[in-house]
Symmetry: C2
Subunit: 293 residues, 2 copies
């Protein structure tokens, strides 16, 4: 079965044809220019490819609410020309009978990991990306969670650690999770990019402490059966054992589940299995989801 996938990013688009098992058969990539130019490239790639559905994992903010009049739109992005664009409508007009799955890039990545990756077979998983920003996608009872909007879990307020004098860089909340712990906050706090800090720099202990605090909140509210941490910052693999320890400290035995209280926690909070393919496999997962198979 041939499925189409589009990973729509703010700087580049990736298009691919793959199958329902997450295999990529063919791919192309082009820079994000005007909507017209970018969409022309999409049509050029897929026309005549005979795909059975199309998945689009999209930079945001978007409207993924199927009951909303602006479903399928990119909404308030500052990217010139892209705000209030009916991207799904444009695709659907060109491919009238094609089922189209549409969601945020991070929701796509969550679904991809649940179909093809680290959360295969689980009906409940949280995927978090910690990069330029912090984004989260949650699958619960087998479905991606939406509601009033897609979750914006990177912006929860945090307790600032006593030894941290950084003011946070979120323009809305200062010291929310993203404002304290995304890549740009690390760079602003320490004066160099995270990728240039040595593995044993105190930055990582503090980073793990914030990530663990945020995970404690997500566990208590969303109750995921697994947590997958991706994004540029998580390339620092030494963060994982520190996160595990701080999380156990933060929850302090309240959640009595061996997945959390024992060293099984290393299988509970993990790195993505799809690695660099997370985005495009996520779009493929959205295509599969649109077929409901």
């Amino acid at each position: 079965m041939k499925l189409g996938a589009i990973e729509a990013g703010g700087t580049k688009f990736i298009t691919a044809v793959g199958d329902e098992n997450g295999n990529i058969l063919e791919r192309a990539s082009f820079p994000t220019t005007t909507p017209e130019g970018t969409i022309a490239n999409i049509f050029k790639f897929f026309d005549g490819k005979d795909i059975e559905s199309l998945g689009l994992g999209c930079f945001g903010p978007i409207d993924p609410d199927i009951e909303s009049p602006t479903y399928g739109f990119i909404t308030t992005t500052p990217k010139p020309g892209w705000a209030n664009r009916d991207i799904v409508g444009t695709l659907q007009k060109h491919y009238p009978n094609l089922p189209i799955g549409f969601d945020t890039d991070v929701n796509g990545a969550a679904l991809g990991e649940s179909y093809f990756g680290a959360a295969k077979g689980l009906n409940s998983v949280l995927y978090l990306t910690i990069g330029t920003g912090v984004g989260g996608g949650m699958i619960s009872e087998g479905k991606l969670i939406h509601g009033l909007l897609h979750p914006e879990m990177g912006h929860i307020l945090m307790r600032v650690r006593k030894d941290d004098s950084y003011q946070g860089n979120c323009p809305y909340h200062g010291t929310c999770f993203e404002g304290l712990a995304a890549g740009p906050a690390i760079e602003a706090r320490w004066g160099v990019k995270g990728s240039e800090l040595p593995q044993d720099h105190p930055a990582w202990d503090l980073e793990a402490w914030y990530i663990a605090q945020a995970l404690s909140v997500y566990i208590l509210t969303l109750s995921p059966k697994k947590i997958i941490l991706g994004g540029g910052v998580m390339h620092q693999k030494q963060l994982f054992p520190m996160i595990h320890t701080y999380l156990q400290e933060t929850l302090n035995g309240y959640v009595q589940k061996k997945e959390i209280t024992t060293d099984k926690i290393k299988d509970y909070i993990v790195y993505p299995a799809l690695g660099d393919n997370a985005g495009i496999c996520g779009a493929l997962a959205l295509a599969r989801n649109a077929l409901d198979i």
Copy 2:
């Protein structure tokens, strides 16, 4: 259609027969004694009543995970005799062919409000009770959220307000939401029961501030289309407008939805519609849910 409902509380049980629209036709109530005595009372009430399904909204902690070997158990309660009790199994043995719906009391209440109450017709709602403890039930994409366990959202860590010197009374986390804002914390902080504090006491401003902070977290992670606030503390109706204002301050325009940014917020965060019937109507909703109608 006749459905059976059991509201299982730590101090009393309520049993009822009702219909799929939330009408209660007959009810009884008895104190929670030993499991044996209590279950005998349940059988006495329902035997011969010809119900088509049974719903049980239960005090906890419980195991609501249908795939778990201890599904249907009350797990670690300190209540003598009740720990590790297979309550659903016991009911099912007595009524072998009866579909049984089982969940926490607060998940039941959430479902009840979504079928019969303030969230009728919505596929996404958060129900929160602020009483002796803080509990939450979330329906997303039309389904009650479970996962590793049921959500325990009362225990999220909080920022303590600068003018509040109270240490919090959660034995696990000190100043989590429950530790700062449930009924017993109000009483410990001010030296009298919340019900005895005047409506214009500064306690309520602080209480609204904490509730708004917690709601900001729930909105960003769970994205509910409506929030219903019940439990003893919420009898203080003057809290609502203060919560609305503080929530708008906390989110600070980040969530661009008119439900939150405008005065429509008074329809977004509301008091339960089912009032004193929340528990038993919740159990009735679990019974209806077990029939999948």
